[in-house]
Structures are given as structure tokens and as C-alpha cells.
């Protein structure tokens, strides 16, 4: 009966095993706990590696949104005498804001400070290294968090350049952007995302405003400042009488497609980890963009009789803008709704409202980012649900409802507070900065230079060479 014999041995082993192990010396027990500690460390390291890989990828994707994404998108929309000047305005942000961020503005935005602005202890990136800051993102180096946030600080002022395209001095643009980054962007980023910020939803803000990836911080601030710039600088010479059609919708098309792809880093990356929340934000961003293409195109088709390529790509950008604050808080179906509304609404803003009031927001930075961002921030308060992201908890750690459809009607008010603060900061800050720049270096190029084009007069080169000989 060999099988019975085997069974007996196994039974004896199971019964006696624990006693045998219990009798093993204390040294073995401590080696077990050491192994357990090692295992826990290895698990944490693996998660950290995964999160860090995604966050570095996201950082690169968000940089790609500015160059070449936004540079191409805006570059195609201007006349060909201004193509390089327009593209280089975005590109200049990649250099200048990076320097500024490393020296001061990261500290102003994300250092601990008061409710409105961060402190100065991270000047020159002091203390920003491999060690994570658990308040922001517990599994990635603080340096990764810093560089990811930098990419947002770059694209936000670059968005404004669409409003004053084809008429601002390059030197004035540089000074404006440096001041704007310090006076408008850094405080707004601190209030919404920084430790102890007035509007921070998870780190003790007085008015917790839900802004997953920058509806208020990025799009409302840049879009509203864009409107102020367009009004302050005035219209381009010849606007609106002369035809100022985009010189290459093809360039804009490529740029918009790059923006769409880069936006996955913007929205899904804002989960600050590679988990399921990133997936949820990825899906919301994507369906929101797709729905907005349909929203804008249908509105245009009905009004003008044809759905244009420029309309379709503008719709995608409008949808991505509007879904940005909501991406990590809403399910896919509310995201579709937000996208549809944003597409039609932003078309109405650029086609009807702009014409009605006659301001020259040349490339529709306000019509798309200001309007779309405000709409998205508001709708986030309506459609946010704790099932997607349990952001609000009581003292015992129980999850509380997020937005209106989740049973928290009050959140809509908090969103309005966030939106109003962003509007006021953008209007007041931008007016002060424009005044300073106007009085020091002057804002606009001369009329003669404007007619000749900024490529030649500001940079001494041309985007397209039309030499007779090859």
C-alpha cells in the first residue's frame, strides 16, 4: 500500500510541521521578518518604478503639446509672414519658463506657504530630489513631480500667445510671460494644487475646488488673460476688413493631432501614478475629445452648411480643454456629455460671440480655453462622483459624495468660487503686467513692422523660402 504510506507521511508532516518550525531557533524568525521587510521594500520599489515610468512619459507627452503641438496648431492659423514668430513664441516658453521654474516659480507654486502662494524654501530646486513628497505623490521622486508640473507651467502661457498673435513685440512677449508666470500662474497653481492652498480639494483648502488637470489653473487663467490681452492690445492692422485666413490648416491639423495625443499625458498623468485612476482619466479625456469633435462639427454643419477640417480639430481641442478639470472625477458617459456641450459652446463663442463684440482674439485662445475651461470647471462640480475618485472623506475616513449628481450640490458653489478667483486673478494680474510692459518696452510692433510681418522684423528670417533659384 505505498499510496497510504505517502498519505501518512504527508499527514504527519502537516501535523508536526508547525511544531518543528516553532522549535527552530530565534535567529531564523528574525531572518523571516527581515525577508518580509525586504519583500515589502521590493514591492514598493516596483510600484514606484511603474509610477515613475508613467510620470516621466507623461511629462514628455505634455512637453510635446507645446512643441511641436501648439506651435504647429497656432503656426498654421496665422498668415505666412508670421509663421515662425508664432511658433517661436511657444518654443521660447520651453526655454524661459524652464529657467524660471527651476529658480523660483516651482517653489512659489508647490512649496509650503500660505493659502495663496508657496514659500521660498525650494528656490533653485533646493530639496527637490529623489525622495517623494507624500502630500503630492508618494510613489514618485519629488523631482519627477517637479518636472511634470513644469510642463504645465510651459504650455499655459504659450496658450495666451494665440490672442495677441501677429502684432506683439518679441521682447514684450518675453517680459509679459515671465511676469505672468510669477504673478498669475504660480499663485493659481498653489491655490488649487499646492499644500494648504485656498482651493485645494485634498490638502486642506477652505473652498475645495475640483480641478483634476488644470481647468482653472491652466485654461481659465490663460484664456481669460488672452481676452484681456486682445482687448488691451487692440486689433491687428486691417482686422476685420482684410482677409486673415489661416495660411496652412495642414500645419494646424498636425498640431491638433499631436495635442490630442499629448493630452493623455496631461490628463491621465494628473493621476500622478500609473493606476486605475490614470486609466479612467485617459478614457474620459479621449471620449470627451471625440464627442466635442462631433459637437463642434454638427453646429458648424448646421450653421454654415459644411463641416470643416479646422472645425473638427478645433472641436477636439475644445473638448480636451473642457474635460481637463473633470477627467479624474467623472465616468465616461458624463465625459461624452461634457465634450458634446463644449464642442457646440466653443463654436458659438468663436463664431458668434467674437463677431458680435468685435474683439480680435486672433487664434481664439479665449473662445476655446477661457470659455471651454470655465464650462468644464463648472460641469466638473455637476458630474464628479466618488465612485471614480473618492477625493472627499470625513474625519473617520469615510468617503463623501463628490459632485451634484453624487449628492453634493454644494460642490457647484465651490467650483464657482474657484472659477471666479481664476477670472479675477487673470484679469487683474494681466492688466497690471500689460501696463508694466507697455510702459517699459512697449507692447506692439510698429504698423509698418506689422504689415511686413513678425518673421522678418522680429527674427530676421522667413518661414518659407521663395527664392527663384533652387
Amino acid at each position: 500500500m505505498p499510496s497510504r504510506l505517502v498519505l501518512g507521511f504527508i499527514l504527519a508532516f502537516i501535523l508536526l510541521g508547525p511544531t518543528l518550525f516553532a522549535q527552530s531557533p530565534p535567529a531564523a524568525a528574525s531572518s523571516d521578518s527581515a525577508r518580509l521587510t525586504k519583500l515589502e521594500q521590493a514591492t514598493a520599489d516596483a510600484k514606484s518604478s511603474g509610477d515613475n515610468a508613467w510620470m516621466l512619459t507623461s511629462s514628455a507627452l505634455v512637453l510635446m503639446m507645446t512643441g511641436p503641438g501648439l506651435a504647429l496648431f497656432y503656426g498654421g492659423l496665422v498668415r505666412k509672414k508670421n509663421v515662425l514668430a508664432t511658433m517661436v513664441q511657444s518654443f521660447a516658453m520651453m526655454a524661459v519658463i524652464t529657467m524660471l521654474w527651476a529658480m523660483v516659480s516651482y517653489s512659489l507654486a508647490f512649496g509650503s506657504g500660505n493659502s495663496f502662494i508657496g514659500g521660498l524654501h525650494h528656490l533653485f530646486l533646493r530639496g527637490v530630489g529623489a525622495q517623494p513628497d507624500a502630500d503630492y505623490a508618494a510613489t514618485i521622486p519629488l523631482q519627477t513631480f517637479m518636472v511634470y508640473q513644469l510642463m504645465f507651467a510651459i504650455i499655459t502661457p504659450a496658450l495666451i500667445t494665440g490672442a495677441f498673435a501677429e502684432r506683439m513685440k518679441f521682447s514684450a512677449m518675453l517680459l509679459f510671460m515671465v511676469l505672468w508666470s510669477l504673478i498669475v500662474y504660480s499663485p493659481m497653481a498653489h491655490m488649487v494644487w499646492g499644500k494648504g492652498g485656498l482651493l485645494n480639494a485634498s490638502l486642506g483648502g477652505k473652498f475645495p475646488c475640483l480641478d483634476f488637470a488644470g481647468g482653472t489653473v491652466v485654461h481659465v487663467t490663460s484664456g481669460v488673460s488672452a481676452l484681456v490681452c486682445a482687448l488691451y492690445l487692440g486689433k491687428r492692422v486691417g482686422y476685420p476688413k482684410e482677409s486673415m485666413t489661416p495660411h496652412s490648416v495642414v500645419l494646424s491639423f498636425v498640431g491638433a493631432c499631436l495635442l490630442w495625443v499629448g493630452w493623455f499625458g496631461f490628463n491621465a498623468g494628473s493621476a500622478l501614478a500609473a493606476g486605475s485612476l490614470a486609466t479612467s482619466a485617459f478614457v474620459a479625456a479621449h471620449v470627451g475629445a471625440a464627442a466635442a469633435v462631433i459637437g463642434w462639427s454638427c453646429a458648424e454643419w448646421i450653421r454654415n452648411g459644411k463641416p470643416s477640417a479646422l472645425g473638427a480639430i478645433s472641436g477636439a481641442v475644445a473638448g480636451l480643454v473642457a474635460i481637463t478639470p473633470a477627467a479624474g472625477f467623472v465616468g465616461p458617459m458624463p465625459a461624452v456629455l461634457i465634450g458634446l456641450i463644449a464642442g457646440a459652446f466653443c463654436f458659438f463663442m468663436v463664431a458668434t460671440v467674437k463677431a458680435r463684440f468685435g474683439y480680435d482674439d486672433s487664434l481664439d485662445a479665449f473662445g476655446v480655453h477661457g470659455a471651454g475651461g470655465t464650462l468644464g470647471a463648472l460641469l466638473t462640480g455637476v458630474f464628479a462622483v466618488s465612485a471614480v475618485n473618492p477625493i472627499f472623506k470625513d474625519a473617520q475616513g469615510n468617503v463623501l459624495p463628490s459632485g451634484l449628481i453624487d449628492g453634493n450640490a454644494h460642490q457647484v458653489l465651490n467650483q464657482i468660487v474657484g472659477i471666479v478667483i481664476a477670472w479675477i486673478l487673470a484679469i487683474v494680474g494681466t492688466l497690471i503686467i500689460l501696463k508694466i510692459v507697455d510702459l517699459t518696452v512697449g507692447l506692439r510692433v510698429s504698423e509698418e513692422e506689422e504689415v511686413q510681418g513678425l518673421d522678418l522684423t522680429q527674427h530676421g528670417e522667413e518661414g518659407y523660402s521663395w527664392e527663384v533659384t533652387a
Binding site: 482677409s243 485666413t245 489661416p246 458648424e300 450653421r303 454654415n304 459644411k306 470643416s308 479646422l310 472645425g311 478645433s314 463654436f347 468663436v350 463664431a351 458668434t352 463677431a355 481664439d364
Partner: protein, 112 residues
């Protein structure tokens, strides 16, 4: 010698070129031009704003021919370029005093 300047639809260039080759026209110069006659252009929409484009892209074909060939060439162009709709273009004829071949200084109809 007569110079034929034919302003035609861009889509008709191949047909006109073939028709001229068929009757023995050996040289021509083709330019991409913009302009309008009675056809008043079209409208374009960019972000809901309407723009009227009144200078429409056209092709201008130039060739200088001996008198004997002129009428045949005009007929060939008219037949090949006509769609019957507004915007088919125009043909202008004008006398040419002299033609000179740069390679060997040959003059007159022989230089064509």
C-alpha cells in the same frame, strides 16, 4: 507671329496641352495665376467666419505661333478647355514683332 495667351481652368491644363501637341504646337509656357472675370469667386468659412475669395486660381498658358497655326490652335484650346460653365476663361491674341533663339541667334518664325 501671334502670341496666344489662354487663361483656363486649372483642371483643363492636361487636356489643352494634349490638344496643342496633337496639332503640332512644340513649345509653351505655363503659369499658375490668380484672377477673376465675371465669375466672382467663392466663399470660405474659418471658425464660422465667412471670407470671400474673389481671386481664383487659374492657369495661364502662353505660346507664340506662326500665323498659319493660330486659328487651329485657338480651336484646339476652346474645344479642350470648355465646360460650358462660367469661369472657363479667355484667350487673348496679339502680334509679336520678333522671336530670337538664344542658343544661336536665329530669328523669326524659325526661332519658334
Amino acid at each position: 507671329m501671334t502670341k496666344i495667351e489662354a487663361i483656363i481652368q486649372t483642371s483643363k491644363l492636361e487636356a489643352v496641352k494634349d490638344a496643342l501637341h496633337e496639332i503640332g504646337v512644340e513649345g509653351m509656357t505655363v503659369l499658375e495665376v490668380r484672377g477673376h472675370g465675371r465669375q466672382k469667386g467663392h466663399t470660405e468659412f474659418y471658425r464660422g467666419r465667412e471670407y470671400t475669395v474673389d481671386l481664383i486660381p487659374k492657369i495661364k498658358l502662353e505660346t507664340v505661333l506662326p500665323e498659319a497655326m493660330v486659328e487651329k490652335a485657338v480651336q484646339a484650346i476652346v474645344t479642350a478647355a470648355r465646360t460650358g460653365k462660367i469661369g472657363d476663361g479667355k484667350i487673348f491674341l496679339s502680334k509679336v514683332d520678333e522671336a530670337i533663339r538664344i542658343r544661336n541667334d536665329e530669328r523669326g518664325e524659325g526661332a519658334l
